[in-house]
């Protein structure tokens, strides 16, 4: 497909030497020869295998944990419970002051989702670790669980996470992130049509081909080398340092080679407990998710619900937009308060709308904690918004692409969250899309520009 070069011709230098040139990827020679070193390609003499005992319940109090039978299992070297973890309650985003700490490395007194880590077993072989894990006895008192965001927000719903005290994340703005711009009710009152629709999505698993994991070796001097496939090296190092109460200088992280991540490997889950195991046994430790754990335990993209109400004029202008977004964090925050916040800024879409009202909630349920995945907080929102845009165009009998031209943001427009638009190129992208997809639009739209207002 050949793309035209006349867009922004006067503001773009055309003496680029790299753009448009094929360059070999620096990592592919290693990939095609099998030489690329993924974390699990390293093995060390005496390496122990870590397996987790996980909660079979969505929500339960732990009455007691009995590891005596498991300890006797041949090959078992060490069994870890919550009391072994120096700083057991953590949250990833505390590094950027987004608290409270709300998640346990190993469950302490309670489990909040099915699959939550309760006891870690370290053994000479993977098989011994697995067999011993099956012998750990945990006595649970099952509690009522809540799986639906709207149910979770109702008064009297089971409380998922005591560290929050309510089933939503409390922002400094209150029970949700809020954007207020113009007068949305006046906008609806003056609109020719008002359309309210709701959209929802299920969690999505990244399903990387390489499962999450790490291999840790003690260096013999209180320092630990951790080979990991984390996508967030320094986040992981710093959080591990907090969880283990160990200075960062004692931790040497080696990584950067990730067998597919897509956002699924940014949580800090396997490294702290594996390093703790290496510290307490003095031996190398590997903790690698099974395929089943990757699919069931690793955090997925959050389920979302987006309710959009738009006021639109017959001539195609959107004059008011009200959005209520719900992000299902599952039982713990991880990256979801941030994802829900991103949604708040994003929901007007790449359109200039004079009256906007947005509330986004980060909701706790007894589901698998969700976290980052490719554009989390905005991708599902974009699905909802663009379906809504098509519905609005149909409602007023307008071509859906022309409808978008009318509302497209341009340089200088103020966005609802008070960021002036700069570097917009939506109009030019749509012009090119119209040409490339052979979807003709009226001449006046082809004459528009992102940076010459009114052209």
């Amino acid at each position: 497909m050949e793309l035209r070069k006349n867009y922004f011709a006067d503001v773009r230098k055309d003496d680029l030497h790299e753009i448009g040139q094929p360059r070999p990827r620096s990592d592919s020679p290693g990939h095609v020869t099998g030489k690329t070193a993924f974390f699990a390609d390293r093995t060390f003499p005496g390496m122990l295998h870590l397996k987790m005992v996980r909660s079979p319940h969505h929500h339960a109090r732990i009455r007691s944990i009995d590891t005596s039978e498991a300890e006797k299992h041949p090959g078992v070297v060490k069994i870890l419970t919550a009391k072994d973890v120096p700083h057991n309650v953590y949250t990833i985003l505390i590094l950027i002051q987004v608290g409270p700490e709300d998640e346990t490395v190993l469950a302490d007194g309670k489990v909040r989702w099915k699959g939550e880590a309760v006891v870690a077993v370290l053994a000479e072989t993977e098989r011994a670790a697995q067999e011993a894990a099956a012998k750990v006895k945990v006595d649970y008192e099952v509690l009522p669980a809540v799986f639906d965001m709207e149910e979770a927000l109702k008064p009297g719903a089971p409380l998922v996470n005591e560290y929050h005290g309510q089933n939503y994340y409390l922002y400094d703005s209150g029970e949700c992130r809020k954007v207020r711009f113009g007068d949305v009710e006046a906008g609806f009152a003056g609109a020719d049509h008002v359309l309210e629709q709701s959209y929802q999505s299920s969690p999505i698993e990244h399903a990387p081909t390489e499962t999450t994991g790490c291999v840790v070796t003690p260096e013999g001097n209180d320092r630990f080398t951790c080979y990991t496939n984390t996508q967030a090296m320094f986040f992981t190092l710093d959080n591990t340092s907090i969880i283990l109460q160990m200075p960062g200088s004692k931790l040497h992280f080696v990584g950067g080679t990730v067998g597919g991540g897509f956002g699924g490997k940014v949580d800090v889950i396997v490294e702290p407990i594996a390093i703790l195991g290496a510290k307490l046994t003095g031996r190398p430790v590997c903790f690698i998710y099974s395929r089943e754990e990757e699919m069931q335990i690793s955090s997925p993209r959050a389920a979302e619900k987006v309710v959009i109400k738009d006021g639109v004029m017959k001539d195609g202008r959107i004059v008011a937009r009200k959005v209520t977004g719900y992000t299902d964090a599952g039982a713990y925050s991880r990256h979801s308060p941030y994802g829900a916040q991103k949604g708040a800024g994003h929901y007007p879409g790449p359109y200039t709308i004079p009256n906007v009202w947005i509330d986004t909630y980060c909701v706790y349920t007894n589901r698998t904690p969700s976290s980052a995945m490719r554009g989390f907080g905005v991708t599902i929102g974009d699905f909802a918004l663009e379906v809504q845009m098509d519905k609005l165009a149909r409602l007023i009998g307008m071509d859906p692409l022309e409808f978008r031209f009318i509302n497209a943001y341009r340089d200088g427009d103020m966005k609802a969250h008070r960021q002036p638009t700069e570097g917009a190129a939506l109009i030019e992208c749509m012009q090119e899309a119209s040409r490339a997809a052979n979807w003709p639009v009226a001449e006046k739209y082809l004459a528009m520009s992102s940076y010459v207002k009114g052209a």
Partner: protein, 160 residues
């Protein structure tokens, strides 16, 4: 536990190992012999990342017991290039950008090699069929299919 002796030819070299009965070939290759080119993506026969060639057939090394490989001739992707010269399949995977994270790549190349060994000029459908046991979560498959077709073309040009 009693160990079982196994001998096989791995990428042209005589190899011998004592393994625990029930050990997979994948584990033996990676953790005992040190050939980490076959990858473990599922350990249950569903992803194809562990694919190797045993006596000319494509096999999943995670479902193959090492002790059944006594006397076998085994090839893996790490043995494919000769004297530092890439095999046409490796070259084609590079040139068509058929690798992203690279985790599926060694298994894909094994599957493609068995196809081209039996069917030097495959149709696109035959390529798709041959790769259907190998999961790639990154590329969307199209560049991989192109790589295999490109390698087949360059093979036939060299032969001509």
């Amino acid at each position: 536990m009693a160990k079982v002796p196994v001998q096989f030819t791995l990428n042209g070299s005589e190899t011998a190992e004592f393994v625990d009965s029930g050990t997979t070939l994948l584990h033996t290759l990676r953790d005992k012999i040190g050939d980490t080119s076959p990858k473990g993506g599922c350990h249950q026969g569903t992803c194809g990342a562990c694919s190797v060639i045993i006596d000319g057939e494509l096999r999943l090394s995670c479902l193959t017991l090492a002790e059944t490989c006594d006397g076998a001739v085994i090839s893996t992707t790490s043995g494919l290039s000769e004297n530092g010269i890439l095999h046409p399949l490796q070259r084609a995977f590079l040139d068509t950008f058929a690798t992203q994270c690279g985790f599926c790549t060694p298994g894909m190349i094994m599957a493609a090699k068995v196809l081209l060994d039996h069917t030097p000029n495959p149709s696109r459908d035959e390529v798709v069929e041959a790769l259907s046991g190998n999961i790639c979560r990154c590329t969307g498959y199209e560049p991989i299919i192109q790589a295999v077709l490109t390698a087949a073309r360059s093979n036939s040009q060299n032969a001509a």
